[in-house]
Amino acid sequence: MTTETIKPSIWAFANPTRFNTFASKAIPVLAIITFALLAVGLWMSFNAPEDYQQGYTVLIMFIHVPAAWLAMMSYAVMSASAIGTIVWRHPLANVSLRSAAPLGAMFTILALATGSLWGKPMWGTWWEWDARMTSVLVLLIIYLGLIALSKAFDEPSEAALPLAVMTLTGAPLLPIIKFSVDWWNTLHQPASVSRFDRPAMSAEFLYPLLIMALAYTAIFFTLHMMAMRNEILSRRIRTMKMQAARKQSSKGAA
């Protein structure tokens, strides 16, 4: 019996080795792009004019709004990975799903924190049960629940399907939650809080915002790829440890 060489383990199908080779080349490139975009974006943001109503606080928008976008995009990436896990049972999809969840949670926290900072001068309180803030808070709870689920299993591969199923169950419910929170908000505070009715954003705000959004997306993909590589490596270590333990015990028995 061949013991070591051609064990058709899960890795033979997934080709994470190829992924990791690709990742080690792609990550530096992505990182450079990220830093470049971030530098340009931040420079443009800080040179944006003051808003006639909000003054300097409008600058928070450039780090707040992209974070909120990315918080949603992370869920989209997770849903796509969940489909990959369920339909093709591709281990890489599962790795991608697992690694995206903490990133999504991080962007959500960032959106909430910057929103709160923005809210203080705007609303006079750190927290307002504003429709957008509330939906993002619910999204954060969902993210944290999914992370808790992914950590609840001893064996990472066992968490794959539960995580995918739960992510996909949440996906169609998210718009419903968003809609219901908006409904709830209009019901309880009929336009008491002045929300920013945007009169077609002017170019000097729009361009920095778009660059920042691109920079955030680049951050996401860089970190996502790094997290995936780490996840693959840590799983491989785990498999090797288990094999070593098994070998040890069979040697002991013989």
Binding site: I141, L161, V165
Partner: protein, 219 residues
């Protein structure tokens, strides 16, 4: 399938009275509120729809952790999964039975608690109807939570964390509908129809998602 419904209901009556525990829990939650907010009847009657709905929401989460985990422990899950019946239908029936023994008793008990909270007869009626239409959704989404944590020995807390944010719309529209029935400018029909729509939607989504999970949970 009727046999399954009968078995589930028999089980929840026999095994420590699942139905009764739910109502007791509901009673406990509802009676804790006045201690927190004070015995002001006016305030309580204003808060009553919210209190009843939160009580129902929490009570409906009871026993979800056992929905599949117990079946797995005694080996029944394998046999349920193997049968020619579509698994999603089997899960639908199990979720329905769960609702029959947790959600439905709450609806029946609502008038009593409504009176205690000084809710008007119209408010009691509206609460009963919205609970009747809305609480099944909690069991259906709960079935997914129960399915994904079927292998976890202490999954009940996790199920609540996973399920609660997803049932927020039900709570919002449910309470909004009651408010709509009681206060004039606010509408009743629109939020009530949303509650019905969400329940119908989750009655398909929940069992389907749970069946994907249970069908492929190798062990």
């Amino acid at each position: 399938m009727l046999a399954l419904l009968k078995r589930e209901i028999l089980l929840s009556i026999r095994a420590g009275g699942g139905a009764l525990t739910g109502v007791l829990f509901f009673l406990a939650v509802v009676s804790v509120f006045p201690f927190a907010v004070g015995p002001d009847t006016k305030l309580l009657s204003h808060l009553a729809p919210a209190i009843l709905w939160i009580g129902a929401l929490l009570a409906s989460l009871l026993g979800l952790d056992k929905l599949f985990a117990q079946e797995r422990e005694d080996g029944s899950l394998d046999l349920l999964v193997m049968q020619p019946h579509p698994l999603a239908i089997t899960i639908f029936i199990k979720a329905l039975a769960h609702w029959t023994m947790t959600g439905l008793p709450l609806v029946v008990a609502t008038p009593m608690f409504g009176i205690m909270l000084n809710l008007s007869p119209l408010g009691i009626g509206a609460t009963m109807i919205t609970l009747l239409a809305g609480t099944p959704a909690i069991s259906f989404i709960g079935a997914v939570g129960a399915a994904v944590s079927v292998k976890l020995p202490r999954g009940s807390m996790l199920i609540s964390v996973l399920v609660l944010p997803l049932v927020i719309p039900i709570l919002i529209f449910g309470v909004a509908a009651i408010t709509g029935a009681l206060e004039d400018p606010a509408p009743f029909t629109a939020p009530f129809l949303f509650v019905c729509a969400i329940t119908l939607f989750t009655s398909v989504l929940g069992p389907l998602a749970a069946s994907i999970m249970l069908r492929h949970s190798a062990d």
